[in-house]
């Protein structure tokens, strides 16, 4: 019982953070239909910002969310405006050629980080880094002991807050609605007078800002080095497909499912197999649930 509950807690916390990484990608993939292989590298940039803010000025990584997100927003806009847009415009046999572009961007970002910051492993040793709340501290005669890590919980809560803010932006504001319209039906959106070009730029900026924020939330519980991006790009893919392209609600559920599933596999099957489990549900979702979680939500009328 203790194992199960502890694993569940771990899975939910992890899932919430995964969701934030995934949302950025799901927006970009939904609106622009491109596979962004530089997503993890953008997260790395966000983490470096948080790291240097902490090291140079002693700014708490969680506060860096407000610094890293705007910077990454502009970085994303620049990348979209000057690199991705020209490629999207031209006619090519396979539209997937933008993949190389994002691979190239990722390579440059990771390599620049190596040049400027060396390949040392970095971390922000915050004072609350290893503190946790224990069930037995509050309830003396607890039948078992559960723990809740402070930084993990704070990161989770902030991730949820960002997600809610994003949800409001997408469903209540005009620009948000335009982004969703572009994702759902490009031609219809064009006909309705949505400035699709602008929306694409904004979306890429927004996606980058979100993953930058995720970077700030990850650094207190994780660590940082220049070539760390790849694995987070992969995780973001899985969540995007699990949730359904372009659906933020789907991405949240996708992230949670992935987090819980991975944790359960690690406890009950073996951690070496956890990545197989991850891709197994990924492929299963692709085949049996092509619209991702979003399509299920729609059926149940709780989605948008």
């Amino acid at each position: 019982m203790e194992s199960f509950l502890q694993t569940l807690i771990a899975g939910v916390l992890l899932g919430g953070l995964y969701a934030l990484i995934g949302i950025g990608m799901t927006l970009i993939m939904g609106v622009m239909k491109i596979i962004n292989l530089a997503h993890g590298e953008l997260m790395m940039v966000g983490m470096y910002i948080a790291f240097w803010m902490f090291t140079l000025f002693g700014i708490d990584p969680y506060l860096s969310v407000f610094i890293a997100s705007p910077i990454l927003f502009f970085l994303g806009i620049l990348i979209q405006r000057f690199l991705i847009n020209p490629v999207l415009k031209v006619d090519s046999i396979l539209p997937e050629n933008q993949v190389i572009l994002t691979v190239g961007i990722g390579m440059v970002l990771a390599n620049l980080a190596t040049i400027f910051f060396k390949s040392d492993y970095r971390a922000t040793p915050v004072s609350y880094g290893t503190s946790a709340w224990y069930l037995s501290d509050y309830w003396e005669s607890a039948p078992f002991d559960l723990s809740l890590s402070v930084p993990w919980t704070v990161s989770f809560v902030i991730a949820v807050a960002i997600t809610i803010a994003l949800w409001f932006f997408l469903s209540k504001t005009d620009s948000g609605k335009s982004i969703r319209a572009t994702a759902q039906d490009l031609d219809a959106a064009l006909l309705m007078g949505v400035n699709v070009k602008l929306m694409r730029v904004v979306t890429f900026g927004l996606g980058s800002a979100l993953v930058g924020a995720a970077g700030c939330l990850f650094i207190p519980i994780y660590y940082l080095f220049p070539s760390m991006g790849g694995q987070f790009t992969l995780i973001a893919f899985v969540i995007t497909i699990l949730g359904g392209l372009g659906s933020t609600n789907g991405a949240i559920f996708g992230g949670l499912i992935l987090g819980i599933f991975e944790s359960m596999t690690a406890t009950y099957v073996g951690m070496g197999w956890a990545p197989v489990g991850r891709f197994l549900i990924f492929v299963a979702a692709l085949i049996f649930l092509p619209g991702g979680m979003a399509s299920l939500l729609k059926k149940k009328r709780i989605g948008k």
């Binding site: 997937e96 040049i115 990545p275």
Partner: protein, 313 residues
């Protein structure tokens, strides 16, 4: 001229070892030829048939491990892996196709990516079969002289080239292109798209697997992180074709020269240090922005550019 180009290139490549290249250069050329074979195989599935696979490492790795396991478990010469891998990888591709070919576009791409990663993790965990993360080390390679390896890989690449060329001249080739251009339209014309996609996948997979089996023999050491690598195999393959020219016969070859040879050249520029990757990354970005169909695919554009600039005549 154009008709004989393949023969000319082949002849040039065939006499290459005779001019007394250093073993270092020969190694680079072996890699170029091997990667162009993989690129051609990928090109058949993605460039012509329109099914962009992000998981060719799965076929490459299964081919490589076929060879490796023959040696490691059965004590048979790993060279048998080349013919045997054709069978193994074809069956493997067929089974994989049952799952992934139901999907389209980015979904297909991501499903194949997941398959590649799943194969890697499986190879890591099936210790009794693959030796797990320790990998398989072939104690003694067959030859020290690389010329033999070179001719073998050249034969593999030539065969791959011919298969792709003749397939694309046949009726099947037209079906492939029809599927790429519009799958629904192709279906409505009575083309059994799933069947032809399966054919493309199996042939492409088998050709990749042969190259993988060659890799085991040539390098003498494999482990899951090397042959099932997402970035170093799957994505490198895509880049080779995209940079060289999608849906062109020579594109993969040109792309392999750039991705292997030019990368090595950039790496060797003195004083550049670790910045060589930035340099190479920018190069890739520029190529794709200005030549979206690759160097061979947009060759007319290059020609025009040179004429405008007056650099060429």
């Amino acid at each position: 001229m154009k008709k004989y180009l393949p023969l000319i290139v082949l002849a040039c490549l065939a006499v290459l070892p005779l001019v007394g290249l250093s073993s270092y250069m020969l190694h680079m050329i072996v890699l170029v030829v091997m990667w162009s074979a993989v690129g051609m195989a990928w090109n058949l599935l993605a460039g012509y048939c329109g099914q962009v696979s992000f998981g060719h490492a799965a076929y490459f790795g299964v081919g490589a491990y076929t060879s490796g396991i023959l040696y490691y478990k059965l004590n048979i010469s790993p060279w048998w892996g080349i013919p045997i891998s054709i069978v193994v990888v074809t069956v493997f591709s067929f089974l994989l196709g049952l799952v992934v070919l139901r999907l389209r576009g980015p979904f297909f791409a991501l499903a194949t990516l997941a398959m590649g990663e799943m194969m890697r993790v499986s190879a890591e965990n099936l210790n009794w079969l693959t030796g797990g993360n320790i990998g398989i080390l072939i104690q003694e390679r067959t030859w020290i002289d690389k010329t033999y390896y070179y001719y073998i890989v050249l034969a593999i690449a030539t065969a791959t080239f011919l298969v792709v060329k003749y397939l694309m001249q046949s009726k099947i080739g037209y079906y492939f292109v029809a599927i790429r251009e519009d799958q629904d339209a192709a279906e409505s014309l009575g083309i059994d798209t799933t069947w032809y996609k399966t054919i493309a996948l199996c042939i492409s997979g088998a050709l990749t697997g042969i190259a993988g089996a060659f890799y085991t023999n040539y390098m003498g050491y494999i482990d899951p992180h090397i042959v099932f690598a997402l970035h170093d195999v799957s994505i490198v393959t895509i880049m080779i074709v995209m940079v060289g020219g999608v849906a062109t016969l020579f594109g993969p070859f040109v792309g392999a020269i750039i991705m292997v040879f030019l990368a090595e050249l950039v790496r060797s520029i003195p004083g550049l240090g670790v910045a060589h990757q930035t340099f190479f990354g920018i190069l890739l970005i520029l190529i794709i922005i200005f030549l979206p169909n690759g160097i061979v695919g947009d060759f007319q554009k290059i020609k025009r550019l040179f004429k405008f600039g007056g650099a060429c005549k």
